[in-house]
């Protein structure tokens, strides 16, 4: 964990509704899938807090390392970020958070589920599992997607997993499966009946809650990547607390999304206190 001064290589909008940011670090650092950074622009006085971005992709090379991020422009922080140009510098604290646990068992199919801007949390995981020869499927949901738009993130995942391993769900049926991504997952489970499976999910809370329910019903393990308002990202403000329960015999208590998370086992999260 350091406060890296990084240089922007590219920063541009990308369909359906994201921005892709590529930056260069002067050194290679160890990153676990699902870890994030806290970022701010140079001379940024407002907003005060840095913004959390999960590390989408990375590439080591002779000059150090390039990192890629996928983000959605929502408010002040991401608007400011979207106005930065190649050559501009960012301050990037990281890597932060626990990241996804390594998958010890080999015979298990990894089912990755994302909604909207939850997607970038899953790429390094997908790539790593595929590299290890595991079975991996990605289900990704969007509200809507232009029928003819090229989807660069799709190609990223297709290169890593093969195109047949990816399912796109759109709420309005504009492309792929019509319905919620969790419905696409359930349809798949009905159809393919994988013997052993594990869920990795990132997306809006209602989606994660539904993933947790499906996991419970089918007695499958599930990891979810949570979001919370973060002032620091490294464990000192206690602002990002979520209520969790580790084993049924211990009392529930707050854990920090930025340090003990953002990845939690779905059954440890007390969903109605989120």
């Amino acid at each position: 964990m350091r406060d890296h001064r990084v240089r922007i290589l590219s920063n541009a909008p990308e369909p359906p509704a994201y921005w892709r940011l590529r930056v260069r670090l002067s050194e290679a650092i160890a990153i676990r899938p699902g870890q994030f950074v806290m970022v701010r622009t140079r001379e940024q006085w407002e907003p005060l807090w840095r913004r959390a971005l999960v590390i989408y992709r990375m590439e080591e090379h002779a000059e150090g390392m390039d990192l890629e991020f996928l983000y959605k422009v929502l408010g002040r922080g991401t608007t400011l970020l979207s106005r930065q140009r190649p050559g501009d510098e960012l301050e990037m604290l990281g890597p932060l958070g626990n990241g996804f646990p390594p998958n010890a068992e080999t015979e298990v199919e990894a089912i990755l589920i994302s909604g909207g801007i939850g997607l970038p949390a899953l790429y390094l995981l997908a790539e790593g599992l595929a590299r290890d020869g595991r079975a991996v499927r990605l289900f990704h949901g969007e509200p809507t997607v232009e029928p003819n738009a090229s989807l660069p993130f799709f190609e990223d995942f297709a290169r890593a997993l093969g195109p047949e391993a990816i399912t796109l769900a759109t709420e309005d049926g504009s492309r792929g499966f019509q319905g919620l991504v969790t419905e696409a997952v359930e349809a798949y489970l009905q159809r393919a009946r994988p013997r052993r499976a594990i869920f990795y999910a990132c997306g809006p809370t209602p989606m994660l809650r539904r993933v947790a329910e499906i996991a419970t019903q089918r007695e499958l393990p599930a990891y979810v990547s949570l979001e919370a308002r973060m002032a620091c990202g490294f464990g000192v403000c206690l602002g990002c607390a979520v209520k969790t329960q580790f084993a049924s015999d211990r009392a529930p208590h707050y854990r920090r999304v930025c340090v003990e998370g953002p990845i939690f086992r779905a059954e440890e999260v007390i969903w109605n206190e989120l």
Binding site: D3, W45, E46, L48, W49, A241
Partner: protein, 309 residues
């Protein structure tokens, strides 16, 4: 020539006037990967209570223009766990550890201090009097000069270490509270704690913090904090530690010039974990540039037209 940055507060010598504020610096150890904690003048710990506290339900924080509201709910591991788990590691750094103490009644403050009194490696206690006093119907201790004074006196009577009273800006008259606790024996004061504020989600029509109101901190409050520190420093003879929105060396200097003997850096630690060291280095540099040989000549050097004060 390098400047002598050391200051004295409550009989303690601080190597420099840059401290970190309670609740914004964890138990200190969280910052050990970032820099040598021994470079700081001092560290105020997260507020410690007798029993561990779980804290408030989320959302606990919200960003505002130039600041943030928090309602963490004083979550902490409890004084005993602090003494056994954190203090042994923390006291190895060459800096003053100030234990920030609170309770929901008089006795709890005293109990916490008693436990800390038995431990090694603490320099002083900082009483957080901006806490709901259960016995007085939830009113803050810090709101009422008499109650603040009684609490200070009780703590002074038993504590074997100096007492710094941390003042609440939400008090009706912070200067009166300052005078009252000085008279009750406080060794020093620190000011200010967060200012009560509110933020509303216009879509749900609920407060953005789960608990309703929260405490405002950050650069937004600096002019108010600086004014209060100036007023307090004018009104008392004991040292005052300035807190509130300090994010740059200029900010720290303003507080020293206004009369603070030292400062605490709070919210800025969140968005820049190295900010306290940057401020320290900036201070050294400023003094060098300005030919200041001891920081003490700067403290309280504000030239305020008497008619205006």
């Amino acid at each position: 020539m390098s400047c002598d940055l050391s200051v004295e507060i409550a009989g303690l010598r601080f190597k420099n006037p840059i401290l970190t504020a309670s609740g914004t610096f964890g138990y200190g150890l969280e910052f050990a990967p970032w820099f040598d904690l021994g470079r700081l003048g001092g560290i105020c710990t997260k507020g410690l209570s007798l029993k561990p506290l779980e804290g408030n339900p989320p959302p606990r924080i919200v960003e505002t223009h130039g600041g943030m509201l928090n309602s963490i709910g004083l979550q902490n591991i409890g004084v005993r766990a602090f003494v056994t788990e954190k203090l042994p590691l923390l006291r190895q750094f060459q800096t003053h550890i100030i234990a920030n103490v609170f309770g929901s009644c008089f006795e709890e403050y005293l109990d916490v201090i008693r436990i800390l009194d038995d431990a090694e490696g603490i320099a002083a206690y900082e009483l957080n009097i901006s806490c709901p006093n259960v016995k007085a119907g939830g009113m803050e201790f810090g709101n009422d000069p008499d109650e603040a004074a009684r609490l200070t006196e009780a703590c002074k009577r038993i504590a074997r270490r100096p007492i710094i009273v941390k003042l609440s800006p939400n008090a009706s008259d912070v200067v009166r509270v300052a005078r009252a606790v000085e008279e009750a024996g406080a060794d020093a004061l620190s000011a200010i704690n967060t200012i009560l504020g509110l933020s509303i989600d216009i879509y749900t029509r609920r407060p953005r913090l789960a608990t309703g109101m929260g405490g405002l901190s950050g650069p937004a409050i600096k002019p108010i904090a600086l004014r209060m520190v100036y007023q307090i420093a004018c009104a008392v003879r004991i040292p005052v530690i300035g807190i509130g929105g300090i994010a740059t060396v200029e900010d720290a200097l303003e507080f020293l010039i206004a009369g603070a003997t030292a400062v605490q850096i709070g919210t800025a630690n969140y968005y820049d974990p190295l900010v306290s060291i940057k401020i320290l280095e900036g201070l050294q540099q400023f003094c060098q540039q300005q030919g200041i040989t001891t920081i003490r000549t700067l403290i309280g050097s504000l030239q305020m037209d008497e008619r205006l004060a």
